[in-house]
Each structure stands twice: as structure tokens, then as C-alpha cells.
Symmetry: C2
Subunit: 144 residues, 2 copies
């Protein structure tokens, strides 16, 4: 298992925590110097807050950990392609690298131009994409 | 003074609170049925959190007040044109109407297409634009 797959599995564990709360199952971890410094999952229903996406909370936890506003030495792993809000937030945080699992062709940030991410942010996609996508599609199938 | 100007003045009061904390001076209020239900100002430095924009906090406070995720009966007044993160957050919140003061030609959400706001969100701009813009430009001039 590659390092990216290992950390994406940790993000998936967070997605499963969201699922257990009947939240849209999306999870994220922030990695700095090979260590996880923040874990988070979607909590929009629990908190009644449409901004409480996994990535937003991961940013808040990670920046709190550092005591600084920037994540320019960090990689964020998230199970689903970030939405525009989260991509723009990762831009403000000057995130070094973004790794995501499944793409989101309906709500993903890549629908928007010019890019919402910081131009220096490295992007890797498709890590554990099947598992990351199936947990979300299964959730919505059961809701129908 | 029009209703829009009156509420924008309240958002400006929030911007002045940010200024007093040496934050980029941006303020916001959320109005529902003619009443202010949330007030917030930029706190990115104070909280060491790049997501702590006035609008994001206003959304969180307002949705907490309602105990629901949506602001589809609310108007947000903010002194500066929202950034992409905040516009996309207002989209998730299904905000009814956005009123902003000064435009932000460098970081404003209107640089992005397709629109980041919810298509049904009414937008009014330029309310008290001079005062709203001057507080920000004055802040950055003093920082140089």
C-alpha cells in the first residue's frame, strides 16, 4: 500500500464516522512531515451548519494545531473532490498539496475557472477512488 | 436612509470591530423578516483560521439561531464583495439575497464562472460602497 493509499484509508475511516451519524460520508486528514495532524468528517447535519464540511473543519483543526493561518507544508487527503467553498478555503490556507479520492462531477471545484485552488498547490486525484465514491453513492441510494 | 443603507451601516459597525482588533476590516449582518439575527466580523488573525471570514461566521451564527442549515429567508449584508469561499458557502446555505458594499476586483467571487452563488440568490451591490471600501483600503495603506 502506498503512502497516499494509507492516508486516504485514514480519511475513509473519518467518512465512516460521518456515515454512522447519518451524515453525507466524507472524511479528511491533514498530513505534515508524514504525520496526521488533523482528522475531520462532514458534520453539516449534526451542527446545522452548511459550512461544516470535512475539509473546512480539517483546516480549522490543523491551523489551530500550528497556531498559524497557513498549511503551506501540509497535504490534505479527502475522500471526495472538494466543493468550490472548500477549494477556495484551501487556497486561503495556502495548502501545499491536495489528494482526493473520488471525483465529484456535479459539485466539484474543477467545474470552475479560473482555478479556485492556490496555483502552487499540487493535486493528485483518484486514490482509492472506488471505495471513496461507493460510500457516498451508497448513502444517497439508501436515502432515495 | 434606505433600509439597505441602514443594515449596511450595521455591517460597517462590525467592520470597525474587526479594525479595532487589527483584522482586515470586513463586517456582516444577517437579516430575517426585517431583524438582524446574526452579526460577525473577520477574525482570521485572532482565531488563526483562514476560514474565519465575516460571512462564514455570520452563516454559522445564523444557522445556529434557526437550528437549520438554510438561510433561504435571509439577506446577508457584507461590507466587501464576498470571496469565492464565502460565495460558495452562501450557495450551500441557499441564501435568499446578498447585499454588498464595495466590490473586490482582485478576490471577489464575480471573477469566477459559472456563478458560485445559488442561481436564485438576488444580488445588490454598491450600498455605502465608499465607506465600505475606504475602511479596507485605509487598513492596507497603513500596513505598507
Amino acid at each position: 500500500m502506498s503512502t497516499h493509499e494509507k492516508f486516504m484509508d485514514e480519511a475513509l475511516k473519518e467518512a465512516h464516522k460521518a456515515l454512522a451519524k447519518d451524515e453525507v460520508p466524507i472524511g479528511a486528514v491533514v498530513v505534515c512531515d508524514g504525520k496526521i495532524i488533523a482528522r475531520a468528517h462532514n458534520l453539516t447535519e449534526t451542527l446545522n451548519d452548511p459550512t461544516a464540511h470535512a475539509e473546512m473543519q480539517a483546516i480549522t483543526v490543523a491551523t489551530n494545531t500550528f497556531g498559524g493561518k497557513y498549511l503551506n507544508n501540509c497535504t490534505l487527503y479527502v475522500t471526495l473532490e472538494p466543493c468550490p467553498m472548500c477549494a477556495a478555503a484551501l487556497n486561503w490556507a495556502q495548502l501545499k498539496a491536495l489528494v482526493y479520492g473520488a471525483s465529484d462531477p456535479k459539485r466539484g471545484y474543477t467545474l470552475f475557472e479560473p482555478t479556485l485552488l492556490h496555483p502552487k498547490c499540487e493535486v493528485i486525484k483518484g486514490i482509492n477512488a472506488d471505495k471513496c465514491g461507493e460510500i457516498v453513492s451508497g448513502f444517497f441510494k439508501r436515502k432515495r
